[in-house]
Amino acid sequence: MNELSIDKLKSRFQEKIDNDIKIEPNDWMPDDYRQTLIRQISQHAHSEIVGMLPEGNWITRAPNLRRKAVLLAKVQDEAGHGLYLYSAAETLGADREETIDDLHTGKAKYSSIFNYPTLTWADMGAIGWLVDGAAIMNQVPLCRCSYGPYARAMVRVCKEESFHQRQGFEIMSTLANGSPEQKAMAQDALNRFWWPALMMFGPNDAESKHTEQSMRWKIKRNTNDELRQQFIDVTVPQAAMIGLTIPDKDMQFNEDTGNYIHGPINWDEFWEVVKGNGPCNKDRIDVRRRAKENGEWVREAANAYAEKRARRKSA
């Protein structure tokens, strides 16, 4: 293909994006666009799958049958999200098993929040309320993402995430209105998850290397700082409503803008966790790798059986 026609394809592509016409799997797209989406979608899928572990940690210890059922359903939803995100990545030519191997070797990233441990039952509340709450802020704009399969997957994911967020808030609110031990447990979970939740939106805009191009392609619709601010503005009054304290002594309310301005975020901690030095990075990846290794004979058996059956049918 000569240069002229590539330029033409590129400009036609950008025209579609500018006119909010969705890009579909068989449409021409620049290689960078494809790679950016594969990276983002598979990271998102990995986050769902690794994200099953901190909550899975409390299923067998859930305090009553209703909470146990809701938690099981939530973790199952996350596995389901992982599945259709991997499928969305496959529409771009990514191989599911290869992307999973990239996760296991540390080449592919996932949301750093899942590298923090879940130490008490209240963490199930904090994760639903804060982590799913932050995920919703990130994902609602993705429902309008320029890539069709990703945008459509996000519509369904967001519906379920909003249910997750409410159940998390309900756990927190029950604890905050419970006994002194329960209230302390809730406050402690908020203290531990607040800052990592703010970090979920990624580095400040000035430091974010992918934002500008992603916004031009309409993969991303808002900057990290805009989304972080939205999250804070929604969450701070919710904490007040149930009598919990946001662990940020520098937080101020700006009367002119109506925004809560947060104190300094510990970006050193963020980058350490991204690099693999968070409290649970190694555990999470080890568990996922072991699941894949221990399941190898099962997958082989399924393939061998499918082949045998196909042969018998054709015989």
Binding site: I49, M52, L53, G56, I59, T60, R61, A62, P63, N64, L65, R66, R67, K68, A69, L72, A73, V75, Q76, A79, G80, G82, L83, Y86, W121, I171, T174, L175, G178, S179, E181, Q182, V287, R290, A291, N294, G295, E296, W297, V298, R299, E300, A301, A302, A304, Y305, K308
Partner: protein
Amino acid sequence: MSSLFEYTLRLGDDSLILGHRLSEWCGHGPVLEEDIAMTNIALDLVGQATSLLNYAGEVEGKERDGDSLAFLRFDREYKNLLLVEQPNGDFAITMVRQFLFDAYRKPLFERMQNSKDTMLASIAEKSLKETRYHLKHSSEWVIRMGDGTEESNRRAQEAVNTLWRYTSELFIIDELESKMADQGISPNLMEIEDDWKKTVDAVFKEATLTIPKNNWKQSGGRNGMHSEHLGYILTELQYMQRAYPNMKW
């Protein structure tokens, strides 16, 4: 203790304990689709346990609900089968355990739909829909493993050899079972055993698996005599309710 209470506990505890075991797989499955399936089955079982134990509490009439029965009894008061409390082991153990149980639960619920106890009949009707899927799922895996690779066949056969000793307990007709059957509340376990054998034979045949010759049998769960494993299950299951008594969650 009323017979109906005790009988309902048996059913509820089977669901509760097997649901607990399956939920231990969450996030560790051999393939993502199985993580979803096993979590889903665990969820169905926890749902059945909730209906059954709530009903048991009603029947007992001592102001215990499903939660207090699930979380606040002592080890010897749990009445589940030994089979369902056995550790997950590898995927073969888990799926063979599930299959042996599902093949018993399906005919049980089919017949229990006609129970003279209308509550048990309606729980059976609802649970049967789920159990049919569970049995289809576990049968397919037993066949895939048995007739898959040499390794999967070996693992599936080992799982059968390990778990077979717990299967006769499913069909023991003790005083309680025969009383419930006489009253038209529970189905006749002999008929269920016939159905179970047919399913097991057909699936094992297709899976090229064999029934072990060693016919030694274990039982006791129905009377609260468990294996060592149940204590650890309860330690986790009851942790919150024991550590923080009398609180709302």
